[in-house]
Amino acid sequence: MSVIQALDISLAVLVLAVAIWTIVSRDAFAAVVGYVAYGLLVSLVWVRLFAVDVALTEAAIGSGVTGVLLISAAVRLRGTEAAVAAEWPGAGSRVLAAALCMVVTAALAAVVLTMPDPGATLAPEAARHLAETELGNPVTAVLMAFRALDTLLEKVVLFLAVIGVWSLAADGNWGGIAGPRRATNRQGALAFLAQLLPPVGIVVAIHIVWIGANEPGGAFQGGAILAAMWMIVIMARLAEAPAIGERRLRLALVAGPAVFLAVGLMGFAVANAFLAYPAGLAKPLIVFVEVFMTLSIAVSLPMLVLGPPDRPSS
């Protein structure tokens, strides 16, 4: 067994161990902490699978916004675990359920083990048409050109999720503000971090969006990092989240899908198809769309984490 195999196996065992912990742990907080650790380990797995774009996404989402979301929820729901303890199915049912789940796992494992290597792929097709998109990163080409509709619809999902979260507000708080209040004289380590980190984060995010055209990276990963920077400023109470009725916020939220849609419709006129880019302008247009998508993502994710507005704006 070579060293790399040993590494892969220990990584897989670790991932599974933390995942099992997440399921079996008695305490909800411990389970959530386990899940955050799990997210980190999984991004290592993605690097080992040579899927760096995915690893970046997993890292940005998993250890940033998802961690904040789940940990705060677990802390707020402290003590509710005991109340549902009576709803556990009996031991026999649990064993049966575990057995049935194992059947599913076994079926999938059998599929994995019989999968041909090399397997079916669209990589040659993507390589052949990559030049037409003027991009160097094939994943970005798939997301922004070959399967642009899915990406556009995914941005609509994000937009709808924001509406869904907002629509849970109490009627009186509509148009109001979510999340922690601003403190006037907040000092200490957290405020220090929240002042130092965002400039660095913004540079890194811009870098990731920009190189996304040719190297691993892209709008979502960059946007998620920007979102995390905004989150830390809000969590440190240096700034308050904007009121959801604010026009600028609304425009920032729809900018991504709207600009994507507009550029797509422009394709009718200048490139003979919806979501097509005219030759020679493909890359600039894609980067243009990505900038607005990054903005929308950077604004949407904190809105999703902060939850529905809980007080009217003053």
Binding site: V18, G34, L44, V52, R181, A183
Partner: protein, 94 residues
């Protein structure tokens, strides 16, 4: 060299993970948070080592992203575990 780097990555990962698994069980949430912090640092180290060994392009950016967000879980924990701060801040605001 490659083998060495990979071995080091595995070693670092395993040591921090053993710490993690031991501490996840308790005693307190503070310890759990610390364990995740340690795993985060160890994970970044392992990632850098693996990237150097296998030459995966762009892996440093993943490490950079993880490093930027390294404090988030702990900050979220401390922030939401101390609700009295919230009230103080609210009062200070008025």
């Amino acid at each position: 060299m490659t083998e060495f780097l990979l071995g080091a990555a595995g070693f670092v990962l395993l040591t921090v993970a053993i710490g993690l698994i031991r501490v996840l069980g308790g005693p307190g949430n503070v310890d759990r948070t610390m364990a995740v912090q340690l795993l985060g640092t160890g994970g970044i180290a392992a990632l850098l080592l693996v990237a150097a060994a296998t030459g995966v392009r762009g892996a440093e950016d993943v490490a950079l992203g993880l490093a930027l967000l390294a404090a988030f879980a702990s900050v979220a924990f401390v922030n939401s575990a101390a609700p009295e701060d919230d009230r103080e801040a609210g009062r200070a605001n008025e």
